[in-house]
Symmetry: C2
């Protein structure tokens, strides 16, 4: 559920028939002005996707692990904190996972990187049979690499001509960049 008024998000959720996995995005405006509605909604979703500032604002915690634990206590069993150029942190009841951003100097416009990450992440999960630690980690890696393409040009220019083959080629390189 992309970032709109939590009451609209709730309304949308009520019209879904047994969704397999519900991810929710939000932002500072709703966190500050519709906090009770947002907190009610968090009880009904599986993955809360937030950037670091949003995670800190909603939890009141500066340390991101503390923030993730707090957000987890609000309901979602999975917390995904996006840190822009610093990568991502995933927190759940049975594992923690963290990746840096894809190291690149080709940055034309970072607008939409977080949404591209979320899209790549959810998109990868839609075609997996199981949702477990292994597929979630892989989904995070796909999202990370997807975002690295989006920032290479304005708007959807780079994404519109991206192929899965090219994405997976960069994914293989990324794996080498973080494997020790």
């Amino acid at each position: 559920m992309a970032n709109v008024d939590p009451d609209i998000q709730r309304h949308l959720l009520e019209h879904m028939h047994s969704p397999r996995l519900v991810g929710l995005d939000s932002m500072n405006y709703w966190i500050h002005h519709k906090r009770p509605a947002l907190l009610r909604l968090l009880k009904k979703i599986n993955i809360y996707v937030a950037n670091d500032q949003e995670a800190r604002a909603l939890s009141g915690e500066s340390n991101l692990i503390k923030a993730a634990k707090c957000l987890y206590s609000y309901g979602p069993k999975m917390i995904l904190i996006k840190k822009g150029e610093h990568g991502v942190l995933f927190f759940s009841d049975n594992f923690i996972f963290s990746l840096p951003a894809y190291p690149t100097d080709k940055v034309v416009d970072p607008t939409g990187a977080g949404d591209t990450f979320a899209g790549g992440f959810m998109g990868y999960l839609t075609q997996t049979k199981k949702i477990n630690a292994q597929t979630l980690k892989k989904a995070i890696a796909y999202g990370t690499v997807a975002a690295s393409f989006n920032i290479e040009d304005f708007g959807l220019k780079r994404m519109s001509r991206l192929t899965l083959k090219v994405l997976e080629h960069r994914l293989a390189r990324f794996k080498k960049y973080v494997l020790f």
Copy 2:
């Protein structure tokens, strides 16, 4: 070579008999006030270790990959940029490597985390037979995990009672946190 006046560092280096690997740290004061001396010294060392602000200040580049490429052009064949809670970026002529910080909510005092990282990194390399991509990556992971202990208490309190066994136990967990 720990962070002092680059002229003192150069003097020290001139007294070393064919060192195997020379790492150099510096800081904003020398970058701004003794830049020519620092640049002369960079031509003679193997690894330049800097935090993100220092890397940006010395290179004039905001993007850290661009900064690393610029610093590389100054001489050192390996550039290691420390990003505090956001982890580390390694750049060399034949590979790039990046790790997030060890995810932890036990942060009492971050003072000395970067130095502990550098110590763990160089310390690991002192006992390897070869210095190659594999051992450098592992050294970066050791440094990352060493730093995660240092911040758990003031001064050297936590480090003074740290054993290699405990460090390696956390290293194994860290590997799970970043492996996809």
